[in-house]
């Protein structure tokens, strides 16, 4: 009789999940990621509700990527009613989304991931010896939060981003302040790249069969919004077709469904964006990509951490460019009137931790159908596979070490567990 090795509650991730490793005579028999966060039924509770109110509720799916949820839901809603935002509004949304990206990456890398590598159980006790790193983490996350604060009213659950644009825009002086702030943190982002380039990549989970999915950026440069999804096997599909290519299944050990592409698990996230879109990087990030290409491997999920570090540099530079564009067009009208008509809209964007998909159908001003797939739900199946690979290599080690290594594998995906729960088709 074997006793399963379990991590009841994985620490330093968003949400509540556990790992269960079941042993048998020939080693690891089964590995399960238990998702024990309760269900919240977002798609179901918004059916029949006024579109504007549903749009205020969807971002509450997740705090770490609430701007991602908000902007994806808003884009899907606008497509449903047949509205296309002005170019300036799209620029502002890109900037807002980048704020979320910077904040989320900084928190994940420094506060959730780094303590493992430096031998701490929490990031705050790192302060004595790694004061500089904590200072950088706070500065990076603060500029991300400030972008969201100024543009969308607050860093979590922004109400100012609405269909047609924004209730009110920041002042020119505030954009200039953001620009100065971004310039100040750019060297810190470069430091992050250097720091994370030295961390172990754990070859145990190397997986030649990895498939990556990412958006094909509409802007033509590495980015967040797009109309097609690229798969690393060379296939491309329009976002409207995602329900044909991303198939979800209910599994009994999880309130979150698992997702498959052509019957296989796949990955989304920073490394998936790099795998599919590295040729669209520019500026300093492009140089760094060339320098560190060896770490940015498609076949190792741990590369996701380093890919996020590289993205910090990229998105800070990109934000500076967007602010330049915005100020060149200043003053900008914050909002256009959106006429609510019947229709169906699909939007897929790149949340900090990977693709997030929304379908919204509108009838008589109300939500008639909604479908949401979050990045963590897409990643769960492949995450489970890599946790299993890690467990197979280390099941004879001390159980504490086994737990530690499997937890690190999960953490590399930057999972958002609360996000992953309530994801489904109606």
């Amino acid at each position: 009789m074997y006793i399963p090795i379990t991590v009841d509650h994985i620490a330093r991730v968003e949400g509540k999940g556990g790992i269960e490793i079941v042993m048998g005579d020939e080693g690891v028999k089964e590995v399960k990621l238990n998702i024990i966060e309760g269900p919240r039924f977002f798609e179901a509770i918004t059916i029949g509700k006024k579109l504007e109110e549903a749009l205020a509720v969807y971002p509450r799916i997740c705090s770490f990527c609430s701007a991602a949820h908000k902007l994806t839901a808003v884009e899907a809603a606008e497509k449903a009613v047949g509205f296309t935002p002005r170019e300036e509004i799209q620029d502002l949304r890109d900037l807002l989304y980048i704020g979320d990206m910077i904040e989320s990456h900084a928190l994940h890398l420094y506060l959730l991931v780094l303590p493992d590598y430096l031998g701490y159980s929490n990031p705050l006790s790192m302060l004595d010896r790694y004061g500089k790193e904590i200072e950088y983490a706070m500065a990076l996350k603060n500029i991300g939060a400030k972008i969201m604060d100024y543009l969308a009213s607050r860093p979590i659950h922004q109400e100012n981003a609405i269909m047609g644009g924004f209730g009110k825009l920041p002042t020119r002086a505030q954009f200039e302040e953001l620009r100065e702030g971004l310039k100040k943190v750019l060297p810190m982002a470069e430091h992050t790249v250097e720091l994370f380039s030295k961390l172990e990549q754990y070859k145990e989970v190397e997986d030649r069969d990895m498939i990556h999915m990412a958006i094909k950026p509409r802007s033509g440069v590495y980015g967040i919004f797009g109309d097609y999804v690229k798969v690393s096997d060379g296939f491309e599909f329009p976002v409207e077709d995602y329900q044909k290519h991303i198939i979800e299944r209910v599994v009994e050990h999880s309130f979150a469904k698992h997702s498959f592409y052509r019957d296989k698990p796949f990955m989304v996230g920073a490394i998936s964006r790099i795998v599919n879109n590295a040729d669209l990087l520019y500026g300093r990030a492009k140089e760094l990509y060339a320098q560190y290409k060896d770490i940015l491997r498609y076949d190792n999920c741990f590369a996701n951490n380093f890919a996020q570090a590289l993205e910090l540099v990229y998105f800070i530079e990109r934000a500076l460019d967007i602010i330049g564009d915005i100020l060149a067009k200043w003053p900008i009208k914050p909002r256009d009137r959106v006429e609510i008509k019947d229709g169906r809209g699909v939007s897929i964007t790149e949340a900090p931790r990977g693709l997030v998909a929304y379908t919204i159908e509108v009838k008589d001003g109300r939500v008639a159908y909604a479908d949401i797939i979050t990045p963590t739900a897409m990643n769960l199946a492949i995450m489970e596979r890599h946790v299993r690979m890690m467990a197979e290599k280390h099941y004879q080690d001390d159980p504490e070490r086994l737990k530690y290594l499997t937890e690190m594998t999960v953490r590399a995906y930057d999972p958002c567990i609360s996000c992953s729960v309530h994801v489904v088709r109606i």
């Binding site: 509650h9 994985i10 269900p39 705090s63 929490n122 705050l124 009213s153 659950h157 109400e159």
Partner: protein
């Protein structure tokens, strides 16, 4: 509390925004000189729900049977229990359809799929345990945390806010979103403390801090104003319920307005 105060931050079913807000405070590093973290899974790997604490912060709605057991345990281990954020205090947005059956919602989202945990309809934690203090908001403001934490640490008790968002909105000199722009702003019934964040952007309040307590949330008078602007009873109830689905007074007060007028 002369020695280091022991705290725990626990999550039920939620978006983790309350903890994120708490973790993002620059002041937290300073505060930790006076705090020991006994349980906070989001940032501390050495966390244990079975340890005694002075202050337990609980985020999230009660949405599984397992969570009912968890909060009962936390209550036993904690001297002060603080409900944090709209989910813990009011049941959260996931309570929006609280009158539908669990089976119906389950069917829509999970189809015939089954999982091994026991889900339930979202509820505020005060339905199961005694709560000593509430921190409101979706998410709460950082200063809400600082105020509550700081006050507890000096051995005192934080006060509750008993006036609406409108008070702060007027102080900021904003044009009225409800009267001047004609939008369905919930500022008049919603607990202040956010400095009228959304109306200051010209956006109607959706009531994320929940209705003012002490029976001074005038759902009826706001419903009357909404009714005059052409909103139906269903539209009014739907909007007010986003963050107040479990409020005992809401329905009867709105009913009153529609009985009078018809």
């Amino acid at each position: 509390m002369g020695r280091k105060a022991k705290i725990g931050f626990y999550a039920l079913t939620s978006c983790y925004g309350c903890q994120l807000q708490f973790a993002m405070m620059d002041e937290l590093v300073q505060a930790l000189e006076n705090l020991g973290i006994e349980c906070w899974f989001m940032i501390e790997r050495d966390s244990d729900e079975d340890r005694n604490v002075d202050i337990a912060f609980i985020e999230g709605s009660v949405s599984t049977e397992e969570e009912v057991e968890l909060i009962k345990k936390i209550r036993e281990k904690a001297k002060i229990v603080v409900a944090v954020g709209s989910c813990a205090v009011h049941g959260g947005v996931q309570s929006w359809e609280k009158d539908k059956s669990l089976e119906e919602l389950w069917k829509i989202v999970y189809g015939d799929g089954r999982v091994k945990f026991k889900p339930k309809m979202a509820e505020p934690i005060s339905n199961y345990i005694k709560v000593d203090y509430n921190v409101y908001g979706c998410p709460p403001e950082r200063r809400d945390f600082l105020y509550a934490l700081g006050t507890f640490l000096v051995g005192s008790w934080p006060e509750d806010i008993d006036y609406p968002v409108c008070v702060e909105c007027r102080l900021r000199g904003n044009p009225c979103v409800l009267i001047e722009k004609g939008e369905p702003c919930l500022g008049p019934i919603t607990r202040a403390g956010c400095d009228a964040r959304c109306p200051s952007y010209g956006i109607a309040c959706i009531g994320c801090r929940g209705a003012i307590g002490y029976d001074v949330a005038w759902f009826d008078s706001l419903a009357k104003t909404f009714k005059e602007k052409g909103l139906t009873k269903m539209e009014i109830l739907e909007r007010m319920r986003i963050f107040n689905a479990h409020n005992q007074k809401l329905e009867e007060m709105v009913d009153k307005i529609f009985e009078e007028g018809e």
